[in-house]
Each structure stands twice: as structure tokens, then as C-alpha cells.
């Protein structure tokens, strides 16, 4: 077996491990730019998975999806986010309402929960359990990050991570959604990021801060 085929055949199971690691480190990190970098790593791992599937199934469509993921999630969206960080000239902190070590414990618990949740489901559908669990864990972590991070940019990041989870779940259960839908969703997300970026500017202008907990002041 060639080196690439060897790597590709283990890609799906091995890369889930890296995804777990990115999730745990996302919980641990306090700095926004590090979070974005971790998002890049996570997206790159998912893109690699798509390419591995494309290689094993010789599917041209999958190559295209992989390229879209690579361009959008590894390059374009992070670039936009970094741009926002720079432009908004905000503090580096994500303003977490839970400190790192407990966050990591929660993340670990979420990973275990997702494992126990998909246990029977994966057997029924006859799909690999670990990647499916990873997908669920990504979604849960996305939610968790949005709940515990107060800065608007970190919330955008949480949403993007959530979307990564949905994408990966689709990848695991059906080896990818149809190409058109996939690309549609991808651009949807891109537009979402742009829109939310605009909103963050507005939030900053109105409240002189990016802390979304300040939005409470809007209440009459």
C-alpha cells in the first residue's frame, strides 16, 4: 500500500482525534486569534478528510467540495475574521465566563456525551462511530463556545464551528451532501460572516465594546 493510500485510509479515524484536540484547545484558549487559528486547523482537518474520501472513492465531486472547504473555511473566512480583529482594534481576550481548566473539563464531558449519544445510532446506520461522535462533539462545542464567550467575534466563531460539525456529520453519514447544496451552504456561511462582521462594527460603535452581554442594555 502506498504512503498516500495508507494515510488516506486512516484519515477519517485519525483526523477525528485531531478534531477532539482542537475542541479541547478551543476550550482552553483565551485569546481570540488563537481561537481563529484553531478553527483553521479544524477546517483543514475536515478538508483533508474530504480529500481522503475523494482519493479512496475516486470522486471528482468530492474533490470540488474539498477545494471549496479549503478555500472558504481555511483561507477566506479566517482572513475575514483576522481582518475584523485587526480593524476593530479590540482586546485579545474572548471574555470567557468560565476559566480555562473548567472549560476543558466541560469540553471533555461533552465529547464523552457525544460518544454515548451516537453509540447505538452509529451501529444502526452502519457508519463509523468515532467520526460521527466527533461531528456531534463539534456541534456541542460550538454551542458551548457561543454560550460562554461574551465577545461578539467569539460568538461568530462558535457559529462557524457549529457549522463545521453539521458539515462533518453530513460527511460521515452520507459521504457528503450533494454538491450544489454543499456549495450553497458554504456561501451562505460566508455571507453570514460578512453580515455579522457588519453587526459587530455596529455593536462596537454603539456600545464602545464587543461584549455582547452589554446588549442587555437594549432592553427597555
Amino acid at each position: 500500500m502506498g504512503l498516500i493510500s495508507n494515510a488516506a485510509s486512516h484519515a477519517l479515524s485519525s483526523s477525528t482525534v485531531l478534531i477532539f484536540l482542537t475542541l479541547l484547545l478551543l476550550a482552553a484558549t483565551k485569546r481570540l486569534s488563537t481561537c481563529i487559528s484553531l478553527f483553521i486547523v479544524q477546517s483543514a482537518v475536515i478538508a483533508a478528510q474530504v480529500f481522503a474520501i475523494a482519493h479512496l472513492h475516486h470522486s471528482a465531486e468530492a474533490y470540488i467540495v474539498g477545494t471549496v472547504v479549503l478555500v472558504l473555511k481555511v483561507i477566506a473566512i479566517p482572513w475575514v475574521l483576522f481582518y475584523l480583529v485587526k480593524k476593530l482594534r479590540t482586546t485579545r481576550d474572548v471574555k470567557a465566563s468560565l476559566s480555562p481548566a473548567p472549560s476543558v473539563f466541560v469540553a471533555a464531558a461533552l465529547i464523552l456525551v457525544s460518544f454515548s449519544a451516537v453509540q447505538s445510532y452509529a451501529r444502526e446506520l452502519n457508519v463509523a462511530r468515532d467520526p460521527l461522535a466527533a461531528a456531534v462533539a463539534i456541534m456541542l462545542m460550538g454551542c458551548f463556545l457561543m454560550i460562554t464567550r461574551n465577545k461578539a467575534l467569539a460568538q461568530i466563531l462558535g457559529l462557524l464551528i457549529l457549522e463545521n460539525g453539521i458539515f462533518m456529520a453530513a460527511l460521515v453519514t452520507t459521504f457528503g451532501m450533494p454538491l450544489v447544496i454543499e456549495i450553497g451552504i458554504a456561501f451562505d456561511v460566508l455571507m453570514g460572516v460578512f453580515l455579522m462582521g457588519l453587526f459587530t462594527f455596529r455593536i462596537r460603535d454603539s456600545f464602545a465594546d464587543l461584549d455582547v452581554s452589554k446588549l442587555r442594555r437594549l432592553r427597555g
Binding site: N6, A7, S9, H10, A11, S13, S14, T16, V17, L18, F20, L21, L24, A28, S99, P100, A101, P102, V104, F105, A107, A108, I111, L112, F115, D130
Partner: protein, 312 residues
């Protein structure tokens, strides 16, 4: 075979200052300085061994015996680690547990040595070291145990043999989690950057340097050598547990030479990683260190849980 084991033990012992010199040089290059020679730590040791020793008037015999015993304990810990062939000089069931505790004993003696003269710096350093080491021990042991469970073996030789037989691309969650936890802990244990700054002499930040402030001459030489050896042996341990591929399976001259070359490459990569990390990462505040080690603990616990999840 015994000759090979003895050789790797001696190499580990002798190359410890070199590893330190390489890190310092790499850091210098990363900071656009030319830096000192990589052999600098050897010159330092030579100088210290020939210097007069100044002992505080208030110190007991422990002040001088501590560093020597700590050195002996660290050397013994090094004898457990496999480097070139699949087993250390000392190899028995549970050897990695003993390794951890030998290092703990060495630290215990260093803390006592720091408290001995009754200076404020010594107390400060020892007290901080006590906190770091108490919290580091759990994740260190758990991550090693996680790997041992997966390999179904109670000693390092067994783990190395099992890992060598695995496919490199078949990365298991246990290994990744345990490795991450272990890297965190090793940085803390060896007093490297995010936890302790090895080049600082600012009393607000220093841990290890505060402990050894009163030492001079041969005692300091033993401390420095043991400290360098600790980093070297922990890196060797990580390499043996997580990337043993290329370790010599038989005793032939060529196999051994090949193993040595591969090991040197791996070691250099590890040292480069340390140097890069130290150049880009800022030191953590004192009371963020427990958070850092708490994360390591969470990772290590998860690694243990994964040993069971992966089985079913």
C-alpha cells in the same frame, strides 16, 4: 545487549548539557542573535566543578548532600529510559512509575536544599516549585498509564515494543491526548517557558532559579547537570513512547547506528519545537500555572477514558 543499554544511558547522561546548548543556540538564532556555542553548558560545568563552594553559615549537611543525591536520583531515572534499543538499562514492571517518583524525590531534595539556608528567595522558589510539582504529578502519571493500558504492558520496554508494531497513521485518541498532556507537564516539570523562565533572575517570576540562588561551585554544577538531564530524559521518554519507530530491534552495528541517527533527528526536532515555543510564548502568570496544569489533567483523564471507549 547490556553494552548497548549502558551506551544509551551514558549518551543520555553526557548529551544533556548539549541539548541545553542547542536550545539556547536555536533560541538565539530565532531572535537574530548569533548566540553562544552549543558546547557552552559543558564549559560552564567544567568551570563550576573547579570552583570554590560557598555554603551559607546557616545551612545544614543537607545543603550540600541534596544536589548530589538529586543528581544520583535523576541519573537513575535516566537509566530507565529506552533510547537506542527497546529497553532501558533498568527495566522492570512499573519502571515508568518509579521514574516519575525518582524525579519527585530529586525535587523534594532540591526544595529542602532551597529552604536550608533560610533565605527568602529559597523559600519563595521552593514554595512555588511545591505547587507546580504537586499539580504536575497527576497528569504526568495518568498520561503514561493511559499509554501503558493501550499497550497492555506494565513497563516501558513493553510499551515501546507495542508502539513500534503499530501503523504510524493509525493515530489513536489516547496517544494524541496523552502526548498533549505530557508536553504540558514536561514543560512544567523541566521548568521551561510558559511555566518558568530558565533565563530569568527576576524574583517575581522565577521558580527554579530562586531555589538554586544560594548554590555555587560543584553543587551548582550537579544541579545544572541534573536539570539538563531531566529535560533530556523526559524528551527521550516522549520519543520512546510516542514515536519509537526506528529504534534498534537487534544489536547489529548498522542497526544501532541507524537508530542513533534517527534518534538524533527526532531529538533535534523536539529541541527545535522547545526553542520555537520559548520564543513565541509568553510566560504565564504564577496563578495561571494551575490552570495550565488543570488543562493537562483534563486531557490526561480523557485519555484514560478513551482507553475504554476505543475498546468497545
Amino acid at each position: 545487549m547490556t553494552a548497548v543499554k549502558l551506551l544509551q544511558f551514558v549518551v543520555l547522561l553526557a548529551s544533556a548539557p548539549l541539548a541545553r546548548g542547542i536550545i539556547a543556540r536555536l533560541k538565539a538564532i530565532l531572535q537574530r542573535r548569533s548566540g553562544a556555542s552549543v558546547l557552552r553548558p559543558y564549559y560552564d560545568l567544567w568551570k563550576l566543578f573547579h570552583k570554590e563552594e560557598i555554603v551559607p553559615a546557616s545551612a545544614s549537611w543537607l545543603f550540600r548532600a541534596g544536589p548530589r543525591l538529586a543528581f544520583a536520583l535523576t541519573v537513575t531515572a535516566a537509566a530507565v529510559v529506552p533510547v537506542l534499543c527497546g529497553s532501558g538499562l533498568l527495566s522492570f514492571s512499573g519502571d515508568f512509575i518509579l521514574l516519575i517518583y525518582l524525579l519527585a524525590f530529586a525535587r523534594f531534595l532540591m526544595m529542602l536544599g532551597a529552604l536550608d539556608p533560610g533565605s527568602s528567595f529559597g523559600g519563595m522558589g521552593a514554595s512555588r516549585e511545591a505547587m507546580v510539582s504537586a499539580l504536575a504529578e497527576g497528569p504526568l502519571l495518568l498520561s503514561l498509564i493511559a499509554v501503558a493500558i493501550l499497550a497492555k504492558s506494565g513497563n516501558l520496554a513493553g510499551v515501546v515494543a507495542w508502539t513500534t508494531g503499530q501503523n504510524f497513521f493509525d493515530i489513536s485518541a489516547v496517544h494524541v491526548l496523552a502526548l498533549t498532556a505530557l508536553i504540558f507537564v514536561v514543560l512544567a516539570e523541566a521548568g521551561r517557558m510558559p511555566v518558568d523562565n530558565p533565563t530569568t533572575h527576576l524574583e517575581l517570576t522565577m521558580i527554579h532559579e530562586a531555589m538554586v540562588l544560594e548554590y555555587s561551585g560543584p553543587s551548582l554544577a550537579f544541579i545544572e547537570w541534573a536539570h539538563a538531564l531531566k529535560l533530556n530524559l523526559l524528551i527521550a521518554l516522549i520519543i520512546a513512547l510516542f514515536a519509537p519507530w526506528g529504534i534498534a530491534a537487534q544489536t547489529g552495528m548498522i542497526a544501532l547506528l541507524l537508530a542513533a541517527v534517527i534518534y538524533v533527528v527526532k531529538l533535534f526536532l523536539a529541541l527545535l519545537a522547545v526553542a520555537v515555543l520559548e520564543s513565541v510564548v509568553a510566560k504565564l502568570r504564577m496563578y495561571v500555572v494551575p490552570e495550565f496544569l488543570g488543562i493537562a489533567s483534563a486531557l490526561a483523564i480523557l485519555a484514560i477514558v478513551f482507553t475504554v471507549i476505543l475498546k468497545r
